[in-house]
């Protein structure tokens, strides 16, 4: 029995090795839904996708992936990108194929996925994980692939590179804008002086991303006091010491960057400790509200900490409505991060269309970069109203994306506030 198992085990090892070798040498490139009959596409554009559907930030990433592929498949369902080809002068169709990998927020795996996909020559690469994206940014430029670094604010800290598009607002800018908003909120309530801040984030890889040197400098220039930075254990069950320390330090506002389980806990603890009025908890617009309410069920009955249930569907901005519809059609939860991702995928496809209409199929990465740099592609969408991508500044959305929820309504700070720019002056 034992020796039979041993033989089986070794056979399995050899078989696995053989399969791996075969898989490496002839891995299929890209998945694309079959063409509808009667519509002939003249080619396909390959898009690489890397995100961490498993791992520490998985909570956000599945939705990101679904929204992204949902948009791509919607385009493909219509036969692909339909454009007027300058060479043939006819209306042509180009389909989009995508190839993805799950890097578990691990840089080495991210690199392996990138190398695999890059060997199939993609035009565009979406990198959604915080850990891998910084490494990939170097490589996008080296390999001349247009890289959309989504969900990764850290990339904004690096110098602008030709092929790299951080498709997210800078966390630094966002944080600075929050401080500005809170100061106004504080003064509008008739309090004297300046409020005191605390930064409160989950530990691990997200430990420090809320307060950057740029934010600190900005806060100091406003005269705001920063009482400290609390990083809590992702496995915490009790935050009373942290909250009490904040109360002791006279904190009025706390800003955090969390994934849903942590944020749910912060809200629960704030409520349990009866600090709803003493400390305002503010989070970024990417917090997955739907997930949050699911985790903290009492929220659906009313108040959860300082944050109230936002109903995106009530927002009257037409583009928001459009994205709400889009996500509903894809049967996805209607959420800031989903809208955001779907929006940027649309930007990419729009740019592909523009490039195709000037150059004709096939297009190069340079054509796509030029198309992306040709100014705002989408005028307004989701909670992120304006989109720019200029040669000097590849940030795809610079306008503020801070959302403060109040009275069951989304209040978009950027409706009435310019986003603070904390980038070092050139």
């Amino acid at each position: 029995m034992r020796s039979k198992i041993k033989v089986g085990l070794m056979t399995a090892v050899v078989a696995l090795l053989a399969i791996s070798l075969v898989a490496i040498s002839c891995a299929p490139s890209g998945v694309a839904t079959p063409t509808a009959p009667g519509e002939v596409s003249i080619g396909t554009i390959l898009v690489g996708i890397n995100n961490d559907c498993t791992g520490p930030t998985a909570a956000n990433q599945l939705l990101v992936f679904q929204a992204m592929t949902g948009v791509i498949e919607k385009v493909n369902a219509k036969g692909g990108i339909v454009y007027n080809d300058p060479n043939t002068g006819k209306e042509e169709r180009v389909r989009i194929a995508y190839e993805w990998g799950d890097d578990k927020n691990d840089t080495a795996r991210g690199a392996a996925i990138y190398k695999r996909i890059i060997s199939h020559d993609p035009l565009l690469y979406f990198s959604n994980t915080s850990a891998s994206t910084i490494a990939l940014a170097e490589w996008f430029n080296r390999d001349k692939v247009v890289g959309f670094c989504m969900g990764c604010p850290l990339i904004a800290r690096y110098p602008v590179k030709r092929y790299v598009f951080p498709s997210m607002q800078s966390r630094t800018d966002e944080c600075a804008t929050t401080i500005k908003w809170c100061v106004q909120d504080w003064q509008s309530k008739g309090h004297p002086g300046m409020p005191t801040f605390a930064f409160f984030t989950m530990g691990g890889a997200f430990g420090e991303s809320s307060i950057e040197p740029g934010v600190e400098a900005y806060a100091k220039s406003l005269g705001v006091k920063i009482a400290g930075k609390w990083i809590f254990d992702p496995r915490a069950t009790d935050l009373s010491t942290e909250f009490q320390a904040m109360v002791g330090a006279g904190v009025n506002y706390t800003y955090g960057n969390f994934v849903p389980p942590q944020f749910a806990l912060v809200c629960k603890e704030q409520r349990r400790l009866g600090l709803e009025d003493a400390i305002k908890v503010i989070t970024d617009s990417n917090a997955m509200w739907a997930k949050l309410w699911e985790l903290a069920p009492e929220a659906s009955q009313g108040k959860l900490g300082n944050v109230e249930r936002p109903d995106v569907t009530e927002v009257s901005i037409p583009e928001v409505k459009r994205y709400v519809e889009l996500l509903k059609n894809l049967e996805l939860p209607v959420d800031g991060i989903g809208m955001f991702t779907a929006g940027h995928t649309e930007i990419a496809i729009d740019a592909m269309k523009k490039a195709l209409e000037t150059k004709g199929y096939p297009i190069s990465a340079d054509d796509l970069v030029e198309a992306l740099e040709r100014g705002p592609l989408l005028q307004a969408w989701g909670p992120h109203p304006k989109v720019y991508a200029t040669p000097e500044d590849h940030m795809l959305s610079r306008e503020c994306a801070m959302a403060k929820v109040s009275g069951a309504k989304y209040v978009i700070i950027s409706d009435w506030m310019e986003m603070v720019d904390t980038r070092p002056t050139k």
Partner: protein
């Protein structure tokens, strides 16, 4: 077991790594294939092999400590990190040439390893595993929070390696650099293992009290084992830093440390060939899961992409467990048994 008719008349023949002409031939052929691969292999294959070679150095270091000396370490990845950060800081901050940074990374990581190895003088077994686990968590904290030096979450950018004016920028040149250094390190490990130091290690593993009575200085050799283990990790880290052009804390997780142990268990502990088998096997397996999970998702969308991704850890765990239970001596043992029976064929007895 050597082929029939191979007799050793001299000590040199007896201890030679490469013994017969056929072995020389195979080694040379292997090296030729390895070093001409960039001429016809694509970038993807080169990248897989480069990563495998880097991991191999770390695993061989762990092999010296755990496989030969019997001291359990669950923190190898953190020491790889120490080497990587040392390289990054030295080359970007102080403009130290890369080769000097590589050597300092090895020595520096080795010294950090000695610090965490100190408890090994008093405790062993499970306690030692917990010490090295603590090393993993404490070093992780340092990577994340000594921001002035390490750059925090976003890490540090690292320039391409350059030796005497030659810049290793392309995938092919990096491959050559990594392969040469890995070859040297594996040869070094093999020689440590089969000389005085290696024999002392094995004696300590078998019974440390007996080793002590035999005149082996336990303190010295245990700390030496930690120094070598972490020094190898440091060299691996240095290579990793120049290969990725970046160091960040996410590259050196506890999961990697456990995976290194798993590679050792599956390959066969206490043998250099075993370390090679284990590393290559797991590296290929990880590549397979990366290719397979999107395929599975495409074929069975009902399975969900998460389920197909979760397969990786599942696979690893099952393979490590099966090996521990059914073949604790690893692939290497099977390989030796196979070689033996092949050489005796058609006689069945061994």
């Amino acid at each position: 077991m050597l082929p029939c008719g191979t007799r050793s008349f001299h000590y040199e023949e007896d201890i030679a790594i490469v013994r017969t002409r056929a072995q020389w031939g195979m080694l040379i052929a292997f090296l030729i294939i390895l070093f001409t691969l960039p001429l016809y292999g694509n970038v993807y294959i080169l990248s897989i092999l480069s990563m495998a070679a880097i991991v191999l150095i770390a695993v061989q270091g762990l092999n010296l400590l755990t496989g030969y000396c019997g001291q359990l370490s669950v923190g190898q990845a953190a020491f790889v990190g120490v080497g990587a950060y040392i390289t990054a800081i030295l080359t970007t901050r102080f403009g130290v040439p890369w080769l000097a940074a590589l050597i300092s990374a090895g020595l520096g990581a080795g010294l950090v390893g000695i610090i965490f190895g100190l408890p090994a003088l008093k405790i062993k077994g499970f306690y030692l595993a917990m010490t090295t686990l603590a090393a993993q968590f404490i070093l992780d904290w340092c990577f994340l929070h000594l921001r002035e030096w390490t750059g925090g979450v976003s890490g540090l950018g690292v320039d391409n390696a350059s030796i005497g004016g030659i810049v290793f920028a392309s995938e092919q040149s990096k491959y050559y650099l990594i392969m040469i250094i890995t070859f040297v390190m594996v040869f070094f490990a093999k020689n440590i293992a089969r000389t005085r130091v290696g024999r002392a290690f094995v004696a300590i593993k078998d019974n440390d009290l007996a080793a002590n009575v035999m005149g082996i200085n336990l303190r010295f050799y245990k700390l030496l084992a930690f120094f070598l283990c972490c020094g190898f990790a440091g060299v691996a880290g240095s290579l990793l830093a120049q290969y990725m052009n970046l160091v960040n804390p996410a590259q050196f997780s506890l999961g990697d440390s456990i995976l290194y142990l798993g590679m050792l268990v599956v390959g066969g502990m206490g043998s250099i060939t075993g370390g090679i088998f284990g590393t290559v096997f797991f590296q290929l397996l990880s590549t397979l899961t990366l290719v397979l999970s999107p395929l599975l998702y495409a074929v069975f969308p009902g399975l969900g992409m998460v389920a197909s991704s979760a397969m990786t850890v599942f696979f690893y765990a099952i393979i490590i467990m099966l090996f521990l239970i059914f073949e604790p001596r690893g692939i290497n043992h099977v390989w030796l048994a196979f070689k033996g029976s092949y050489r005796l064929y058609p006689f069945a007895y061994q």
